[in-house]
């Protein structure tokens, strides 16, 4: 009787004694074994899928079809099936010939059967890793919209954004993408890059709000050796790194005014100078910017330069928030489910009807990023093959005016205390509040809290631990 989840072994040897011994040995260890004295019959059965094969063990010297010929024929239609060759001829030439023909391993007779077992186990592991790798590659290379990898959406607003990205992809005009945090502005930027004639060049992204101003300048423009304390060597900046490609400046609305002036000059003259150098260098990178802010209002407040605003706002692309793309919620959820199930080796098949309904009704203020985080969490914590409502964020998210946690008034986004709590608890709740308010954007949260990302990660991990203990 075949075991359901056992690996399948094919053994080929015209030595009946060895064939029986090996078949018995591996069956006792839970393998499904198909045994043959004739390699041609084994080949026919494998090719026609009459039998399944995870590993083949074959003698080298066989009547009718040799082990080497068997390998060559198998490789015509299966390039990855591990084949272990056995032989009493222990010459180097034969070993090399076997490996070059595509054998996975080469073992000498008389056999040390436990050693053969190790070789089989390794071959099966390799097979599994190769299959997983292939699945992951196929998944991430799936082209979903306009031939773009992993770009999911059918809503009118989303399609409009991507189609506009396509139209401007090969032009040199400045593009600025507007959209809420987590709405997919980088997806649009990548679409502009991938659909245009710069697709073979680099795509370099930086979040302008995540890096302190003094560091941001050196990141963007690079520096010469000795330009400042700590500059022990020269470094090229992101403008140069993105030459012949695209430089994506996310959260451009957070750029400090002095840097805005420098950026404006770069966009006008298409030249940069590394810090501490006099040499000007041409840049060929196309610059795409993005922001969640209303730049017009920022200009009125004096936080953003008007001349830079006009320079950037040649082709504005608006990425709608997820609540305006309701028909994309399920396709996105299914995509993330597949992705995280693969990455976490989880046997999750889909969502229950109730879960699908919950997904469509939640407000997703953190947009696609929040949705992705929620699905990842659901896949990791799900107790069955289908993600259910209990695996998803609660319905209290739905009501804006409701306080969903003690101490938080979500409608006014103000952190207020309604009962006494310990300093530690208050700390944790405040971090969680800011994190959620920023749509689970870690960089933005760290900046607002005035801590570095490492500290934030540590604190978020503590929060997860508390939540898991609560779930348990």
């Amino acid at each position: 009787m075949k075991s359901k989840n056992a690996s399948s072994l094919v053994i080929i040897d015209d030595d009946v004694d060895l064939l029986e011994l090996l078949s018995s040995f591996f069956r006792q260890r839970g393998y499904n074994v198909s045994s043959y004295e004739d390699a041609r019959m084994a080949l026919d059965d494998i090719e026609s899928k009459k039998i399944s094969a995870d590993v083949v063990i074959s003698d080298l010297k066989l009547p009718v079809m040799s082990g080497l010929d068997f390998i060559k024929r198998i490789r015509e239609f299966n390039s990855v099936l591990p084949i272990i060759l056995m032989t009493a001829e222990g010459t180097l030439e034969i070993a090399v010939e076997a490996i070059e023909a595509g054998a996975y391993d080469f073992v000498l007779k008389p056999l040390h059967v436990p050693q053969l077992l190790i070789s089989v186990q390794r071959a099966i592991f390799l097979n599994q890793v190769q299959a997983e790798n292939s699945n992951l590659k196929n998944f991430f290379s799936e082209q979903d919209f306009l031939g773009l990898k992993g770009v999911i959406g059918k809503s009118a607003g989303f399609k409009k954004a991507i189609e506009l990205a396509k139209r401007v992809s090969s032009s040199q005009a400045n593009v600025i993408i507007f959209g809420e945090s987590g709405s997919g502005k980088e997806v649009v930027a990548k679409a502009v890059h991938e659909l245009g004639d710069r697709k073979n060049g680099p795509f370099v992204a930086i979040n302008c709000s995540a890096i302190p101003e003094n560091l941001l300048e050196s990141e963007l423009f690079g520096y010469a050796k000795g330009a400042f304390t700590g500059a022990v060597g020269s470094k090229i900046g992101l403008f140069e790194e993105a030459n012949k490609g695209t430089l994506f400046l996310d959260e451009i609305g957070d750029l400090a005014l002095p840097l805005q002036a420098k950026l404006l000059r770069v966009l006008q003259e298409r030249k940069i100078k590394r810090i501490g150098e006099n040499t000007t260098r041409d840049i060929t990178a196309r610059v795409i910017c993005a922001t969640h802010k209303d730049l017009k209002k920022e200009v009125e407040k004096g936080n953003f330069r008007e001349d830079l605003y006009f320079r950037l706002n040649v082709i504005p692309i608006y990425m709608p928030p997820l609540r305006e793309r309701k028909e994309d919620i399920i396709p996105l959820s299914e995509y993330f489910l597949k992705k995280f199930a693969l990455l976490n080796h989880a046997d999750i098949k889909g969502f229950t009807k109730a879960a699908l309904k919950r997904l469509e009704t939640l407000p997703w203020r953190g947009n696609v990023r929040e949705l992705e985080n929620a699905i990842e969490r659901a896949v990791v914590l799900a107790n069955s093959e289908y993600v259910d409502v209990d695996d998803l964020p609660g319905e209290t998210q739905k009501d804006d005016s409701q306080k969903n946690e003690e101490g938080f008034d979500k409608s006014s986004a103000i952190f207020s205390i309604h009962s006494v709590m310990s300093l530690d608890e208050m700390n944790k709740k405040y971090i969680e509040f800011i994190f959620k308010r920023n749509g689970y954007a870690k960089e933005q949260t760290a900046k607002e809290l005035g801590i570095d990302r490492k500290t934030l990660y540590r604190k978020l991990k503590e929060l997860e631990t508390v939540e898991q203990l609560t779930i348990q």
Binding site: D15, D17, M86, T87, K109, P110, H112, V113
Partner: protein
């Protein structure tokens, strides 16, 4: 002895060597050296696996002697093989 082989499997292996010995003698008589090489090669590859290193060693020698068509050596080796199989059979546990 290989830990993979059970005594009953060893008994079966040794029992089948009888027909090998018969084939070897006939092949020597008819000067069918390719068959002698084939049987010798098979014994070389299997004997030790079943816990009978002497059978592997004799198999190697039979194969080499057959390639050289050394009749005298082959006669002696076939007799040695017969003796080795009898000896191993006698050494097997009585319960098998």
């Amino acid at each position: 002895m290989s830990i993979a082989v059970l005594p009953e499997q060893q008994l079966k292996y040794l029992s089948r060597r009888g027909s090998d010995i018969t084939d070897l003698k006939m092949s020597l008589e008819t000067q069918d050296y390719s068959k002698l090489i084939m049987i010798g090669h098979r014994l070389k590859g299997s004997g030790q696996t079943f816990g009978f290193p002497l059978i592997s060693s004799l198999g190697r020698s039979i194969e080499e002697a057959a390639r050289l068509e050394n009749v005298a050596a082959l006669k002696g080796l076939i007799l040695d093989l017969e003796t080795a199989v009898e000896k191993y059979l006698a050494e097997l546990p009585q319960s098998v």
